[in-house]
Structures are given as structure tokens and as C-alpha cells.
């Protein structure tokens, strides 16, 4: 038996994920002078990052192979490789800024959700943008030659400015991860508070999907902050143990990236492609419903959904006379159920018809609780 099929791994995404990991490995080596500027203390993080890259890439490429995802992926690729796509780039940039950074759409769902999510998202993005370049050896700090009071920053092996110890720049450079950790912890606390009072979330949340990622983020942030506390106020007491715990939690978080909720970080940019797709359809004008003539579906959407339905084996959903079910607006689809029931009752609802009543009054075990 093929070992891949026993593990239920798809060969094509597997090959692509391997290529993506190799590419990242190549870029890492290129940026750190073939390992010369790599910080050996961060080697564990680097290995975990490469594993995470493989896992995330594998899941991403598997996701792109789903027929419905492929529908948008193909369109996005085609569009961005065309002049039209290049022209749309500024618009896409603005969309991405709004959806990935400002996240105003979450604010419209609930302002509490937005607050929690903003702290989490910005904290994580800040932490990632600092940690990965450090781990990859792309950015590093050394003392400035003979001048022990100054720090020298290096970017891809090139000097990128120096600053005195004790300056505001030094404080920011050395504590920016603490700021990110505080934001993440605040976001997690807000998220837990919201979850504890939201009946909808309480009913649908799952430990592995919704709670575990928050616990992991808290563990990473708290151990990171404790490192600073040990160094600043405790003369480095327990620094080694804390550093080990921090590394362990970060590695766990990195390895968890492909599996859990955090995967949406790499999924979300797809929204910009979808917005562009919708704009293209809107510019073409909506197609009317075949029964009530109300305009309701974008032409590109109608065309691509028919192809998708064919791939999904749903193409038989055609009405006598050749009308595709996709050509009926949602309201007409709903009216059809009513109409079909009416027909079964021979088009007649007789309010005075005898309905057999239960002999005993029925106990109603589910009563309304306000």
C-alpha cells in the first residue's frame, strides 16, 4: 500500500509544500549569509518555523484543490497575471489594508469582538514581523565595534544604523516583543470575557478549535514577558528555565499553525480576491431570475457556479424546460417549497378540515424560558 494514501496525504500538495519549504530554506540561507549570521540560540525556533512552513503550505495547497476554492484561485491567478489585474492592484492594496489590518468588517459584527481581535491580530503580526527576521538571521544586533555603549543593527548582513544603549530606540528595539505580548494577552482576556457571556459562542465553541489557540498564545506571551522580568528585576534568575519554556511554547504554537484556527491568518487574504471578483461581476450587471425576473446573480458567478456544480456532480439540478436551479433567485427557490406543498395538498388549504386531535393532551417538555 502506498504510504501516502495510508497517511491520507495528497501527493500534489505534498510536493508543493516541500518546494515551498525548500524555497523558504533557500531565502533564509540567502539572507543570513549561508548561516554565518544565524543566532545559534534561535536554532530550535528556525527548525520549528520550517516545519510550520511545510504544514501551513501543505494545508494551503490542499485547500486550493477543493473544487470551490479552485474556482476562485484560478480566476485570481488569471486576473493578476493580466493588465486588468495590475491596474486593480491599488484597489486590492486598499482592500487588504482594510480587511487584514483595520479589520473594520469585524467591528460591524460586534465592537467587543473587534477589540479583542485587534489586540490579538496586531500583537501577533507585530511579534511575527520581529521574530521571524531575527530567527532567520536576517536581522541581528551586535555591539558597535570598540564602542561598547552602542548597538549596531544589521539587515541581511548590511549595517542598518546604530544606537546608544539606554536610548529610546534601544528601549523600543529590546521591548517591542513585550509590547506585542501585552497586546496578545489583553486580546486573549477580552476574547475569554466575550466568550464567557456570549450564548452563541458558548454553544458552538470547541476546546481544540477556539480555546486551545488562546491558551497557547497566552503561554507564549506570558513566558516571553517573564523572560524580560527575570532579566530586568530578578538578576536573570531562572532565565534558562524560562527561556526553555518560552521556546517550547513557541515551537508548539508554530507546529499548531497548520491545524487550528490560526490557519485563517493565511486564508484571509483570499477575501481581497473575492472582493475583486464581485466588483467584476457588478460591473457586468446582475442577471435576472428566470421565474420572477428580479436581477440577482452576477454573470461571472453564474457561469463559474455552473462549472462548479458540474464538478460537484450537482449538474442534474435542472428543471423541465432546461432552467438551471442556479437561474432561480433564492426567493423563488423558497416559494417553490411552499408551492410544491400546496400542490400536494391539491392547491387547497381548508382551515375547517378535520384534523385528528390527540386523545390525551400532549406534554410539552420544552417550554419557553425567557
Amino acid at each position: 500500500m502506498n504510504p501516502l494514501s495510508r497517511l491520507e496525504l495528497e501527493p500534489r500538495p505534498l510536493a508543493r509544500a516541500a518546494l515551498a519549504t525548500l524555497a523558504l530554506g533557500g531565502l533564509v540561507a540567502l539572507g543570513n549569509g549561508g548561516g554565518r549570521w544565524l543566532d545559534p540560540a534561535l536554532l530550535g525556533y528556525l527548525i520549528a518555523s520550517l516545519f510550520a512552513c511545510f504544514g501551513v503550505a501543505y494545508r494551503y495547497f490542499t485547500w486550493l484543490e477543493r473544487p470551490a476554492t479552485a474556482m476562485y484561485w484560478r480566476w485570481t491567478l488569471r486576473t493578476f497575471l493580466s493588465v486588468r489585474g495590475l491596474r486593480a492592484l491599488p484597489r486590492v492594496g486598499l482592500k487588504l489594508l482594510d480587511q487584514l489590518f483595520l479589520q473594520r468588517f469585524i467591528g460591524k459584527r460586534s465592537i467587543k469582538r473587534w477589540g479583542a481581535h485587534a489586540c490579538l491580530a496586531w500583537g501577533c503580526l507585530l511579534a511575527f514581523s520581529v521574530t521571524f527576521p531575527l530567527v532567520f538571521g536576517w536581522v541581528r544586533f551586535t555591539s558597535d565595534g570598540a564602542n561598547a555603549d552602542r548597538y549596531q543593527a544589521w539587515l541581511f548582513g548590511m549595517p542598518a544604523g546604530s544606537f546608544p544603549l539606554g536610548s529610546a530606540t534601544a528601549f523600543i528595539a529590546f521591548h517591542i516583543l513585550d509590547l506585542a505580548a501585552l497586546m496578545v494577552i489583553a486580546g486573549c482576556v477580552l476574547a475569554f470575557l466575550r466568550r464567557s457571556t456570549d450564548e452563541g459562542d458558548a454553544a458552538t465553541q470547541r476546546f481544540d478549535l477556539d480555546i486551545l489557540p488562546l491558551l497557547l498564545l497566552i503561554a507564549v506571551s506570558a513566558t516571553g514577558l517573564l523572560l524580560t522580568a527575570s532579566e530586568t528585576w530578578l538578576q536573570g534568575r531562572n532565565f534558562g528555565t524560562l527561556a526553555f519554556l518560552h521556546e517550547l511554547t513557541v515551537i508548539l504554537l508554530l507546529l499548531f499553525l497548520p491545524f487550528g484556527k490560526l490557519f485563517h491568518i493565511v486564508q484571509r487574504p483570499a477575501q481581497a480576491g473575492v472582493s475583486l471578483y464581485k466588483a467584476e461581476g457588478d460591473a457586468q450587471g446582475l442577471l435576472p431570475c428566470r421565474t420572477c425576473a428580479t436581477p440577482f446573480i452576477r454573470p461571472n458567478h453564474r457561469r463559474d457556479l455552473e462549472r462548479l456544480w458540474l464538478e460537484l456532480g450537482l449538474d442534474g439540478a435542472r428543471h423541465p424546460g432546461g432552467i438551471h436551479h442556479l437561474d432561480l433567485c433564492p426567493r423563488c427557490r423558497r416559494r417553490l417549497v411552499m408551492g410544491a406543498q400546496s400542490l400536494r395538498l391539491h392547491g387547497a388549504f381548508d382551515p375547517f378540515a378535520e384534523v385528528p386531535l390527540p386523545v390525551e393532551p400532549l406534554a410539552d417538555p420544552i417550554s419557553f424560558r425567557s
Binding site: 452563541g200 484556527k261 485563517h264 420572477c292 457556479l305 439540478a317 428543471h319 417553490l336 417549497v337
Partner: protein, 193 residues
């Protein structure tokens, strides 16, 4: 988990168009403030018939198959949930693909919402909001065995659109449940109600 014993029975013929369900739906904890129930008129010029539509909770949900973000999940109890918030990219595939015209992608929210059988209530043994308030029991959530005693009609959970057969958790009440309910567009084109 919603008990397998409990079913949701829809009887459009009983609907009196009072819109109580529409108001109550917005009180559901999983989508508070947004009513997900549709209350439609069959053909205003020819009939007083109105009918409520909730999600039918399909066995093989077309909405989920069509979702590019893999955001729609069906739990073991047969309930098909609204889109997962972190995943949904508001593409509208589900809205345009659902055979029954159920999901709604709300502008601005960038998210698909739909009836999830008031999961916060039904999963702890309470009736969904709409079934709680419906005065004519056009929307009924009850133990399956009691429905036979309550009604002259019987629950039907199979729907036919051309060659496509859709099986659902929720039922529509008909006198003869032996054959699927044919959803044929000709019904609407003839204006024969």
C-alpha cells in the same frame, strides 16, 4: 448536541404571515440582532399564502460543498451551522447554491449567516426561537413520534430538483410523504396558485 429524537416540522399551509418568527429569530444568541428566517408570499396577486423558510439542514449540504473557505460545518446531530467567522470570505457561493434559498451574506459583515436551529437553545433541549413563538405551529420543533399524533399530514424529508435528490434533517408536512417533494420551476412560471 441536538437530540436525534427531536425534529423540526415546517407546514407553510399553516402560516398566517404574522412575522412573529421573524422577530423572534433576531433574538437567537448565535446571530443576535439579525433575523435569519425568510417569510415570503407565494404569489401576492393570486393567493394569501405566506410561508416561513428556515435552513433545512441537508444531509449533504450544497452550501458546504460550494464553500471555497470550508467555512460551513455539519455536526453529528445533523445541524448545518452558519459560516465559521474566521473563515468565511463572504463570496456568496452558499447563498447562490442553496437549493432552498436559505443563507444570507450580510453586507458589511463579510460573513454568511443562516439558521442554525438556534443551536444555543436546541443543543440544551430548548425549542428554537421561531418554533417557540409560532402561533399556528407552521414551525414546530417536537419529538418525532408526537407529530404523527398531532397532524393529519406527515413529515417529508426528501426534495427533488430535476435529477438532484436532497435529503434533509428538517421536514415539510405533506399528506403523502412516500415520494419526494418535486421543486419544479414550472409551478412558478404557470402562476397556477
Amino acid at each position: 448536541m441536538v437530540s436525534e429524537e427531536y425534529g423540526f416540522f415546517i407546514d407553510p399551509q399553516r402560516c398566517i404571515g404574522c412575522r412573529s418568527c421573524v422577530a423572534a429569530c433576531a433574538e437567537c444568541g448565535t446571530h443576535r440582532g439579525h433575523s435569519m428566517i425568510h417569510l415570503d408570499e407565494l404569489d401576492r396577486s393570486a393567493s394569501t399564502q405566506t410561508g416561513p423558510t428556515v435552513c433545512m439542514h441537508c444531509e449533504d449540504p450544497v452550501c458546504a460543498m460550494s464553500c471555497p473557505a470550508d467555512a460551513i460545518k455539519r455536526t453529528e446531530d445533523g445541524v448545518v451551522h452558519a459560516s465559521q467567522k474566521p473563515r468565511c470570505v463572504a463570496c456568496g457561493n452558499c447563498e447562490m447554491s442553496c437549493p432552498f434559498g436559505v443563507p444570507l451574506v450580510l453586507p458589511g459583515l463579510e460573513q454568511m449567516l443562516k439558521c442554525d436551529l438556534c443551536y444555543d437553545r436546541s443543543s440544551v433541549g430548548l425549542k428554537p426561537m421561531c418554533a417557540t413563538v409560532c402561533p399556528s405551529q407552521a414551525l414546530l420543533f417536537a419529538p418525532r413520534h408526537e407529530v404523527a399524533a398531532m397532524r393529519g399530514s406527515r413529515p417529508l424529508r426528501e426534495f427533488q430538483v430535476g435529477e438532484l435528490l436532497v435529503r434533509t434533517r428538517n421536514a415539510v408536512m405533506v399528506p403523502d410523504p412516500e415520494t419526494p417533494l418535486h421543486l419544479d420551476a414550472a409551478l412558478l412560471l404557470d402562476g397556477g396558485f
